[in-house]
Amino acid sequence: MDSPSAYVFLGPTVSVTVAAGNTIHVTSTAVLGTTNITGATMSRLSVCHQPAAGGVLIDNDADWSVVRIPVNTSIPMAVSQRISGLAAGTYNVGMCYRMAAGQSGNWNDNDWVTSKVLVLL
């Protein structure tokens, strides 16, 4: 879905409970592509976390990238992030994106998303 001003999770998330002082390390990979004649663009691709109770997705350290691909292209994209300074609690973590209006339909040749999460005690 289009989401120009707020992050949206891309694919499944992992539910993680941390204690104060723990650090989360997240690595996510997705194969994304397009057959659209004008290609496809994503304004931000990153890793986000969100309190389990809900709320805004947070891109720790604003560690995002812009992605732009041409027609008939499908490639793996990887993002990783080290999240520290979290309050004790449970969080959802995973790959996330922002996308300009009208762009989500251009990403029409996608495959699987995988996220690996480690908690450093």
């Binding site: 499944p12 539910s15 993680v16 409970t17 699987w112 996220s115 908690v119």
Partner: protein, 183 residues
């Protein structure tokens, strides 16, 4: 593990040497005139560390002391050995899988819908879970399998509260992967 053990080794050595020294002192005092014990005291420090490591002969003179002392120490019963490594994972896997199997009907009724014409009649999802030492579920990832998957069902399951998977406290963080077959 290594860090936890390091401080205790010198403490044990010092404590052991103290016992050796006292035993030797008391033993020699019982056998020899009062003027002699001072000769026994210098032998205690060498027994504490380096001589033991290098095999120097000094400690051999004091073996009688601690051996006799140990023989009077009551035997301490050890707790049953707790499984570790692969055995621990197998135990946690068994208990957690049983708990998830018990919840399968509830999860299915919450998220399974009749499949469409191009959708599989059944799916298996992977519950990648990690328990803390007390047996509390602290991480959960729900994965799909390529051979048969229903994205709508998986998304629904991820939106549910974490399943309560009761297991015995494993004593250490333990990760296992469980299977949930639906319907």
């Amino acid at each position: 593990m290594t860090n936890a053990r390091s401080p205790s080794l010198p403490v044990a050595i010092v404590a052991g040497s103290t016992i050796i020294g006292v035993s030797l002192y008391l033993g020699l005092r019982a056998m020899q005139p009062a003027a002699q014990p001072t000769q026994a005291l210098p032998s205690a420090p060498p027994a504490a560390g380096p001589p033991t490591m290098t095999g120097a002969p000094a400690p051999s003179a004091s073996i009688t002391g601690p051996t006799n002392a140990a023989s009077t120490t009551p035997t301490v019963e050890q707790a049953p050995a707790r499984p570790t490594g692969a055995a621990l994972e197998a135990l946690v896997q068994q208990q957690a899988q049983a708990a998830l199997d018990a919840l399968a009907p509830t999860l299915g009724s919450a998220c399974w819908t009749p499949p469409g014409p191009d959708e599989p009649a059944s799916v298996v999802l992977d519950y990648d879970v990690t328990f803390d030492p007390d047996g509390t579920l602290v991480m959960l990832g729900i994965g799909e399998r390529r051979d048969a998957f229903r994205t709508d069902v998986a998304s629904c399951l991820r939106g549910l509260p974490r399943p309560q998977l009761a297991i015995d406290p494993p004593g250490e963080h333990t990760r296992v992967v469980l299977a949930l077959a639906l319907p």
